[in-house]
């Protein structure tokens, strides 16, 4: 059923159709409306036997889901920014405990200075947590991705948290037409969670053991194997989803113009604007193309290589900074694609919700094509400033 809805409703409705057993969250802008809509559904008895809990903090919310998931419950939360960072200790533990918690992160900048607006510093910070990360371009995509997230997380060969990252405000608060999922369709795709191990009196297992040096390494290798293997499992589920819904969001990486010599990489909602600028440039005869990076963890090395095989200049639009180094996505791209020798130009734009004008995108791509800028990392759209002691 096609309906014009806001991003948070698109998430909440899709999560409802996934029939979670326990939802637990703590409000934080700009995620709050996701859990508010779920709270509405709970209050109206639309969530079946699902328990909906408002925790005392994001730390508490994630911890509650550790207990719930270990007991065999399909578990969901949503958060943003400081909330994600407050959850981080628990989420790292959940990954190590192999608990398939699914969360939506409404991407928002990190303090300080405090900013409620959008960039991707929060989820990028979670890069090394052994949590799957998928970035969303629009609100139909996030609607379609939620059942896939549960299915991949709960796959016995994966059993890891899955974080769906959607840009705060830009997606969460945007109105878009969304084809709302039908219950039977989701039921067919996503069976109830059947935990391979769970807390139960009948089979009293011990969860969360500490591992001395003779064991620890093997547990960490098993985590790496699981998340590396998750990539192929995701691709299979993407395909199955396409068969059911007819909507194809592509794989981990979508190379929209694979022959382009200048590749422009984006992640998240900025893709639409970049695509617009690039297609205008293509009409002008410029050999430039868009590479949409969807899956950030596991990092799709082979897909990136394939997508960039014809590129000699690679532009990355970064929505975060790896302070003390450079753009975090560019770091990954260089590592994946180092054999190609292509130049990588990394630009941090739109930090803390600063507007990213269409002209700025055009200007940046133009100056790379024209050789007016050296490869490397820089901030764009920055005002001249001087730091003073007040």
């Amino acid at each position: 059923m096609m309906k014009v809805v806001r991003g948070f409703y698109s998430v909440a409705y899709s999560v409802k159709q996934c029939k979670p057993d326990v939802i637990c969250a703590y409000p934080i802008t700009p995620q709050t409306e996701i859990v508010e809509r779920l709270a509405d559904m709970y209050a109206n008895g639309e969530l079946g036997n699902c328990e909906y809990i408002t925790a005392e903090s994001e730390f508490g919310a994630a911890s509650i889901l550790v207990g719930a998931s270990a007991t065999g419950a399909r578990s969901f939360t949503a958060t943003s920014s400081q909330g994600l960072i407050l959850m981080s200790e628990v989420l790292l533990s959940a990954a190590g405990m192999r608990l398939p918690i699914v969360l939506v992160n409404a991407n928002r900048s990190l303090s300080a200075p405090l900013s409620i607006w959008n960039d991707q510093q929060d989820s990028i910070f979670m890069r090394d947590a052994c949590i799957m990360q998928l970035y969303i371009e629009n609100n139909q995509e996030v609607h379609d991705v939620m059942p896939i997230a549960f299915k991949v997380a709960e796959n016995r060969r994966v059993m890891l948290p899955f974080m769906v990252c959607m840009d705060g405000y830009k997606l969460t608060h945007a109105y878009e037409p969304v084809d709302l999922l039908d219950e039977q369709m989701v039921d067919k795709f996503l069976p109830p969670y059947d935990a391979p191990v769970k807390l139960s009196v009948d089979k009293p297992l011990t969860f969360g053991c500490y591992a001395p040096p003779p064991y620890y390494t093997e547990f960490r290798v098993a985590m790496q194997n699981a998340i590396m293997g998750a990539g192929d499992i995701m691709l299979k589920e993407f395909k199955k989803w396409y068969k059911i819904t007819g909507r194809d969001w592509g794989g981990h990486v979508v190379a929209e113009n694979p022959d382009a010599e200048v590749a422009v990489i984006t992640m998240g909602s900025l893709t639409g604007l970049v695509r617009d600028v690039v297609s205008e440039m293509q009409k002008e005869g410029k050999n430039v193309g868009v590479v949409k990076l969807r899956t950030f963890r596991p990092f799709p090395v082979e897909d990136i290589k394939k997508a960039l095989k014809n590129a000699n200049k690679i532009i990355v639009f970064e929505r975060a900074v790896s302070f003390g180094h450079e753009g975090p996505v560019a770091i990954e791209i260089k590592s994946a694609n180092y054999e190609s020798g292509a130049d990588v130009y990394s630009f941090a734009v739109g930090l803390g919700g600063r507007d990213i004008p269409r002209d700025l995108i055009r200007e940046i791509i133009d100056k790379v094509i024209e050789g007016k800028v050296e490869p490397g990392f820089q901030f764009e759209g920055v005002k001249p400033f001087e730091e003073v002691i007040p």
């Binding site: 969860f207 500490y210 093997e218 098993a222």
Partner: protein, 94 residues
């Protein structure tokens, strides 16, 4: 080949393979004639290694599992009849 449980999940009761009987310097010795069967030693033992068996109406037999007894002496302290004595192990005698 090393087998590791998913996410560090472990089977129950594996500690039973690890004997702690050699930890202590002392071991308990009981005078069963004195025992009145109150079971204070049994419920107070941190190692769950004491069993009080009822032989007949008046007679009880206290047994210690020396595979696990750490020789802490709580049993001797809680015994109302002073039936348990802690004895230093041969190796620790000076």
């Amino acid at each position: 080949m090393l087998k590791i449980g998913l996410g560090g999940v472990s089977e129950p009761y594996l500690s039973l393979k690890f004997k702690t009987g050699d930890w202590g310097t002392h071991f308990p010795s009981v005078d069963n004639e004195k025992c009145k069967g109150c079971r204070d030693c049994e419920i107070s033992c941190p190692e769950a290694c004491i069993e009080v068996k009822k032989l007949n109406k008046k007679k009880f037999e206290v047994t210690f599992d020396f595979d696990f007894c750490k020789g802490c002496g709580i049993c001797a302290y809680v015994c109302r009849e002073d039936a348990i004595e802690m004895i230093v192990k041969e190796a620790y005698k000076v």
